[in-house]
Symmetry: C2
Subunit: 403 residues, 2 copies
C-alpha cells in the first residue's frame, strides 16, 4: 500500500503497429497495420500505470508534449493534469481518429494519462479501477459482434481466416460500403440467420437524410438502433423525426460541446461513448450521467485496440449503471497484444471484470519492443483508409454522404 | 493503509438540535433549533466515516432504513449502496428540505452515506476527499456573506448578538420577506455600502413572474445574479427572457429529472448545487459537469449546517473546476458543532481545503451526545418556519408567490 503524494517521475509514449485485416468502411479500407500508442507512467512510489490510445502522427506529437508537461504532478491530481494538458494541447481539429467527427483534442490527449493515473491509484489502494468509479454494477460486460465487409486478404497476400466464436448476443454490421439496398439485404439475411439477436447497422454517415429516412422505414422493427445514418447534428435530427428506431452516434456527438445542440435538436437517442476521445474514464462517466439526465441511451464505441484499452473499457462499462446496450469492440480482429497472458475471456459475448488492483493488466516488454519495431518498419504514420483504397481503386473518392 | 475489501459493519444515525437564530424567510422564520442528523459508518477495517444531513422526521426514518440496508456493503461500492438505498427509499416527494422544491428522495438519503464512504476511502488511501474527485483546483474555497432579515431575538428571549467578520467578498440577501420595493431599497443600500462586492438577492420564489420582471429591470446592473425570483421552471423561463442578469435556482432545479426541462426552456443560468440533495459528492460533480456542458453557471446552496457538511462542501468545491461563484454557507449563524477543534478558518471570505486524509474532521462524541440530548428535549421533529411564525402572527399565511 502506498500513501501520501505519488508523483509522476516519467511518462513515456511508445508507438506500435499491429497487423490489421482489410476491413471495409465508408472511408475506404483498413491498412495492413493499425497504429496505437502505449503510455507508461512511472512514479516516485515505484508504482506504474498504463494507457493506450491512437498513434496518428499529430496525436503522437501532442502525447509527447503532454507527457513532458505532466511530470512532477500527483497521480490523484487529474484536474491539474488536465489543466497541464490543456496548456500544451493543439487546436481541437488537428488530430484524426478514424471516422469519428472532430472530438476535443484536450480530452483525447488527456485520456490515456488519466487511465494510467487511475491504474496507479487502484494499485495504491489495492482496488480495481472500477472501484474508483463507484464499483462494478455487473460482473461481466456484454459486447456485440462487430461484422465488417472485408476483402479476403490485403492485396498481394494470402487469404486470412477469421471465424473464432465469442458467443456474442448482439450483432453490428459496419455498413456504408455498398449501396443501401445491398446492405438492407444483408441486415435482412442477418435477421433470418439470427432471429433473436439485436441488430445494428452503421453506415458511418454515408447516406443523405432522405436516403436514411427511406432506409429507416424499410428496416422498421428490424434494428435495435441505426448508427450514424447521415452526417451532422441537423441531418440526424431530421432523420430522427421520421425513424421508428433510436438513432445512435459516435460521429456527430463526440465532444462535450456537441451535447447541448444535439440534445436541443433531439438529434440522437443513443450515444456511443469512447473513453479515448471523451477524456478518460471519469469524463466518460460524466457523459453517462448526462445521458441519463436527458434519457439518452448509452453504448460504447471501439476502434482497433489492444488489451490495455479493453481493460479500461471493461472497468468503465462495469461501473456505468446506465449502460443501455452491449459495447462495441474490434477485439476479435486483433492480431497481437502488448499485455502479458490472456486475461480476457469472452463467454456468452461478455467479459468478466478484472478484480485485481488497477486495470489488472501487465505490460509485456518484449511484445511492446516487437510491435514498436513493426511500427518503425511498417512505414505507416497516420491512419488513411481512403488513400490505401485509392492505391488499388484509383477512381475511389471519399464522399459524404455517398448515397 | 488499508487494502482489499472494506465492509460496512454498522451505520448509525443520530439526530441532533442546535440553537438557531430567528432568521426570516419567505416561508416564515427559523425555529429556535435547527435539526441535523449525524451519520457514522463503521467498517471491518477499523476505519470510520462521517456524514451530515437533514433530520426531519420522515428523512430520519428513511436514513434509518438505509443505514440497515447498506450494512455489509463495501465502501468503494457506492453504486451498489445507491441501489440498496433505492430499494428502501420512500417516494420522491415525502421529505421536506427547507424551501427547496421536491428533490429526489434516493439522492437525498444516499448523500450522507456516500460522503461517509468517501471519508473512509480517503482515510484508506491516506488522501483528502478532494483527491478522490480529481484533486483540488483551488487552495481555498470562496463563500459569500449570507444576510438575513431577522428578529432581534426569538420571542421571549434576550436579543442575540451577531457581528463577527469573515471577510466575505460577495454578499447574498435572503429576501421574500418584505414587499419587493423594500428589498430593492435594501439591495441599493448594500450597493452603496459595498460598491465593489458582487450582490445577490434571493426572494425564494415570493414573486409572480410579472413582479419579478419589473424588479429585474429595476436592479439591472446591480446584481451578480437573481435567485429564484418566481416559482417553477416555466415561470423562471418567462422571467429569464426579460431579465438582464443571470437567474439562479435551488428551488426549481433540485434533482437530475429537472435538468432536461429547465435546459430546454432556458429557465436558469446558474444552478446552486447542494450535495445533501444532489446525491453526494460524486453526483454533485456530475451536476457540475452537466452545467459545464450546457454552459450553465454553478454556485453552491446551504441550509443551516455544521462542520461535517462544511468539510464535504469544501472538498467538493475545491475539486470542481467550473465553480463559477462563491458558495453559500450558514456557517456564521451556527451556535455549536459536533466536530473536534476549529479546523476551518475564514480569511478573505474563503476557507482553506483540509489536506489530511478523508474529510479532515473528527467527531466530538461529548458534543454529539449533548446536541442529541438537546434534540430529545427541544421537542422539534420537523422544520416548520411557517408554523413557528404563525404562533406569533396568527394571520401569517404561506403564499407563493406572495407579490
Amino acid at each position: 500500500m502506498t500513501t501520501g503524494r505519488i508523483r509522476i517521475t516519467k511518462a513515456m509514449v511508445t508507438p506500435i503497429a499491429f497487423a490489421d485485416p482489410p476491413l471495409l468502411t465508408a472511408a475506404g479500407v483498413h491498412e495492413p497495420f493499425a497504429l496505437r500508442a502505449i503510455i507508461e507512467v512511472a512514479t516516485d512510489a515505484g508504482l506504474t500505470g498504463l494507457g493506450e490510445t491512437y498513434a496518428d502522427e499529430k496525436h503522437l506529437a501532442a502525447l509527447t508534449a503532454a507527457a513532458a508537461a505532466i511530470e512532477g504532478a500527483d497521480v490523484y491530481a487529474t484536474n491539474e493534469i488536465y489543466r497541464r494538458v490543456l496548456a500544451v494541447a493543439p487546436p481541437a481539429t488537428t488530430i484524426a481518429s478514424g471516422l469519428a467527427g472532430d472530438s476535443d483534442a484536450v480530452d483525447r490527449v488527456f485520456s490515456p494519462f488519466e487511465v494510467a493515473c487511475l491504474d496507479i491509484q487502484g494499485k495504491a489502494a489495492g482496488r480495481p479501477v472500477a472501484d474508483l468509479l463507484g464499483g462494478a454494477v455487473r460482473g461481466t460486460v456484454p459486447f456485440s459482434a462487430y461484422l465488417f465487409y472485408k476483402w479476403a486478404a490485403h492485396p498481394g497476400k494470402d487469404p486470412d481466416a477469421w471465424g473464432e466464436a465469442y458467443g456474442f448476443t448482439a450483432i453490428k454490421l459496419k455498413g456504408g460500403v455498398f449501396p443501401p439496398e445491398q446492405e438492407i439485404e444483408a441486415v435482412r439475411a442477418l435477421r433470418a440467420a439470427f432471429p433473436d439477436h439485436p441488430l445494428r447497422l452503421d453506415p458511418n454517415a454515408a447516406w443523405a437524410p432522405e436516403t436514411a429516412i427511406t432506409i429507416a422505414r424499410e428496416l422498421d422493427g428490424v434494428l435495435e438502433y441505426l448508427e450514424d445514418p447521415t452526417p451532422g447534428i441537423a441531418g440526424m435530427a431530421e432523420v430522427a423525426r421520421h425513424a421508428s428506431m433510436p438513432l445512435a452516434t459516435n460521429m456527430c456527438v463526440v465532444a462535450f460541446s456537441h451535447l447541448d445542440p444535439a440534445i436541443r435538436q433531439n438529434a440522437v437517442q443513443v450515444i456511443l461513448s469512447d473513453h479515448h476521445y471523451w477524456g478518460g474514464l471519469r469524463r466518460s462517466a460524466l457523459l453517462a450521467g448526462i445521458c441519463q439526465a436527458h434519457r439518452i441511451g448509452l453504448s460504447m464505441h471501439s476502434n482497433s485496440h489492444l488489451g490495455i484499452s479493453l481493460a479500461a473499457m471493461i472497468h468503465l462499462a462495469a461501473a456505468t449503471p446506465n449502460l443501455s446496450y452491449a459495447c462495441d469492440t474490434h477485439w476479435p480482429w486483433k492480431t497481437g497484444d502488448v499485455i502479458k497472458g490472456d486475461p480476457f475471456t469472452f463467454a456468452g459475448g461478455a467479459v468478466a471484470v478484472p478484480d485485481g488492483p488497477g486495470l489488472g493488466v501487465e505490460l509485456d516488454r518484449d511484445a511492446l519492443a516487437r510491435l514498436h519495431e513493426q511500427y518503425l518498419s511498417c512505414g505507416l504514420r497516420s491512419r488513411d483508409d481512403t488513400g490505401y483504397m485509392q492505391r488499388f481503386n484509383p477512381s475511389y473518392e471519399r464522399v459524404q454522404p455517398r448515397w
